[in-house]
Symmetry: C2
Subunit: 239 residues, 2 copies
DNA sequence: CGACACCTTGAAGAGGTTCAAGAAATGTGG
DNA sequence: CCACATTTCTTGAACCTCTTCAAGGTGTCG
């Protein structure tokens, strides 16, 4: 068998549980395998797509870590999310066939390129794929509701606590530690995401460390007291 | 012809351009007409669905004005959007077959109930409907990016300016005035949406009125200087 | 008409920002 | 591989925006 064709088959990808529908018939699996047209490697700092780029397809992250951000005409920008292996980027482009945000690799990365017309065609025939696509988009909508809640009603330390818990939870789902993580983004990028200045992020980190909730050494974070973080996010629930 | 069947046909609805795909073959139009299972009337203050409710379908607003909001366990809540005629509510429920936000009518309203399984089935057969669904969800994702930008990087008056411009633009697309609007929500609800306290919203309204940018009489707002509002949102662009 | 919800405005206070300086890490070129 | 430049991070102090608390006004609905 041609080793190249093995390489781009979703059925052989250990991330398929994350980015593809589960429980398919073998026949459908073969069809899903044809979805991924190619792979693309990116080096740290490289853009996967930019605001204004023509939308051609979605990207499933194989390895690496991304940020997406939107920018105003006057140059302010807002990080709208951080994405890791198994997650899908590019949904913003569907409405107007144009990307409205930037996607940048925060470390060397590789993505599967999924042409959008193939998704359309195939999801008409494979019900599981159709449902999967709807769920992926709905999940993104719900995630953003959570971010709005964070930005609209939490104070600085609550935001950072929620951010850390979310990151570590997603990393844990990928087989990493529940208590240790390496931040792939700068304080400024965290701040942009959380609606805070980088100094405030830094101070909040220091405060958490002072209180013994975490240990911070630059981008290495060890969570010492997960419960304390959870209570910060949900202050009322103090049984 | 049975008058009841006329009444629930999308093809006779003057909002179809807003909530349904355009440019369909007559055959497809007839099938789209079957999507709407029923209509539901709500009185002011009534919930269309609540956080935790089982997800059964989407709702297309025929008349009225809604808000959606998410709530934390400790009781804080965040308005995630205001929806008007022709817009679709309920997309949050798709991921987990459970609604994760509340949808409340801010005035007497009527919605078309669209069972989700019918959307799934029909959008496998009618390409235009499939594309429409994807676009509706993508549009919501992009809208939320905009809200994140607002919440994360704008100051109070910029937020209110952006809010007013967005509202009046959507109303204008529905045939209403470009300069006059009646707010269907309270200052507190506006504040929740914008991540501000109601007092700050009130003060910002007063400031705008003082500067001659708008006239405010309770919930009646007349925009006197649209350009001034636009410049608040995009301060740099001062040619 | 009275009760209630909603809105406005003032004054004091808190949380986060801004500005600034220095330390630590990272990357680069010789 | 080391030295230097650059980026990133931390911390302090002053400042500002928005919040909080409070009181009074306005509008609405039974």
């Amino acid at each position: 068998m041609d080793p190249k064709s093995i390489k781009v088959a979703c059925s052989n990808c250990n991330l398929r549980e994350l980015c593809m529908p589960m429980g398919l018939a073998t026949e459908d699996i073969e069809r899903i395998d044809t979805l991924v047209a190619s792979r693309r490697k990116l080096t740290r700092g490289e853009s996967l797509f930019r605001n204004g780029d023509k939308f051609t397809g979605l990207y499933a992250i194989r390895v690496g870590f991304f940020k997406t951000s939107v920018t105003t005409e006057d140059g302010r920008d807002q990080v709208t999310g951080f994405q890791m292996a198994g997650e899908i980027i590019g949904l913003d482009g569907i409405v107007n066939d144009l990307h409205t945000c930037d996607a940048v690799a925060l470390e060397d990365a590789e993505v599967c390129v999924i042409p959008y017309d193939m998704i359309e065609t195939l999801s008409r025939e494979v019900t599981a794929l159709q449902q999967h696509m709807h769920k992926v988009m709905s999940r993104e909508i719900v995630r953003e509701h959570g971010v709005m809640l964070l930005l609209g009603s939490m104070r600085a330390e609550e935001r950072l606590a929620a951010f850390l818990l979310n990151l570590v939870q997603r990393l844990h789902a990928r087989g990493f530690s529940q208590s240790e993580l390496v931040l792939r983004m700068t304080r400024e990028e965290i701040g942009s995401y959380l609606g805070l200045k980088l100094e405030t992020v830094s101070r909040s980190f220091s405060k958490f460390a002072e209180d013994g909730i975490i240990e911070v050494k630059q981008r290495h974070v060890r969570i010492m007291d997960t419960e304390a973080l959870k209570q910060m996010v949900n202050p009322q629930t103090c049984h």
